[in-house]
Symmetry: C3
């Protein structure tokens, strides 16, 4: 299929991230051109788990790095998170059905050529250094996002 999908990933909820990455992986398998634009909390999905920097950061930027999970597997659910009990329950239920984990779908999306973009303003405001995010992520502003989304056949805000 010679079509294009654009997902604006605003949320960092574990379950919504799963939904978005499942769509992205399946889109690539159908031959779609897939763009994911990570903005605000969505950036927590494309953090480099092995790199958290505290250099040249303000107090609030440090706090943002400390209070938010560096590993996507630790992201909360949008509902029934129950301080992590619900999230663990969902993970166990997925493992019972031999469904891949969030990080597997993320890795799949990277390998299948989903294009990853990060919102410039969000990166600046949250104080992320470039090396704290996945290396293939490209930085884009809201106008670039709009141009890409307007050319797409399917656009979702997640």
């Amino acid at each position: 299929m010679n079509k294009k999908m654009n997902l604006l990933m605003f949320s960092c909820d574990y379950d919504k991230a799963l939904a978005a990455l499942i769509l992205a992986n399946n889109g690539r398998e159908l031959g779609l051109d897939v763009t994911m634009f990570f903005a605000f909390w969505g950036l927590l999905l494309v953090r480099n788990p092995e790199m958290t920097s505290f250099e040249d950061k303000s107090f609030y930027e440090d706090l943002m790095g400390i209070l938010t999970p560096a590993n996507p597997e630790d992201l909360p659910l949008s509902k029934m998170n129950l301080s992590g009990i619900g999230q663990n329950m969902l993970k166990k239920m997925m493992a019972d059905k031999e469904a891949p984990k969030l990080t597997d779908f993320l890795q799949g999306a990277r390998e299948k050529g989903v294009k990853f973009y990060g919102c410039q303003l969000s990166i600046e405001v949250m104080g992320f250094k470039r090396e704290e995010l996945l290396p293939e992520l490209e930085v884009m502003d809201a106008k670039d996002y709009l141009k890409d989304a307007l050319e797409s056949d399917l656009q979702l805000f997640i």
Copy 2:
């Protein structure tokens, strides 16, 4: 109007479900072809209220059936739910204006021919038996969803 709308219903919030079903009903009244794809929490909207099964289920699947409301009228609000006080308040305010209830809009959507699809992976992971969901619901995977959404003129993630 010879057009098509596709709603991906991910959330189970009472207020978001109302919004989605109001759009679906109005879409049908305008002559649109309307598809609703229920995934993750969205499946709680299309449970058969008279059928909760505990047979052949794991502990977690039982728990999922117990912890989540079997009747859509008991779903929480996305904001100001306040342990159900806010939800009751919204219902009373709607009744004051003689607006239909969520279950009325759901029934309307069923009668008007909105097409109901359930996400295969979500159904498996949450452990729902087929008979626990509305009889007209068809099971679909993410690729089927994408094909339907790509053919639509309006697609929303709710």
Copy 3:
């Protein structure tokens, strides 16, 4: 660009409202025709901060006016709101980068000619008087929204 964007603003989260208004402002700068349709909680974004009426209102309608913020700057975050601490932190981080505030983006959208519509049913159910909402807001029903969205090249539910 001779294209059209339609944003259905359902949420009243400070961060989601920021995202929507940044898209709306940038859309207008690119020459897009931009429509924002405010429904349910989204109406809290287009309240007239200087006008809260308690006349001819039911108890619940009064309560809705009291419990919800009249000024968009007081809206909560979708995540990590922490009773307002997180919201203040985000505002300070944005000020550090000299990013405009939510009300600046809202004012920008008004001046740039983003079209503001309010959902008729939501206004009735929440009991807002016309003068409690921004003067340029036009009232529209779900069918009008659908017609506008179906003519658009990019539609998001936020």
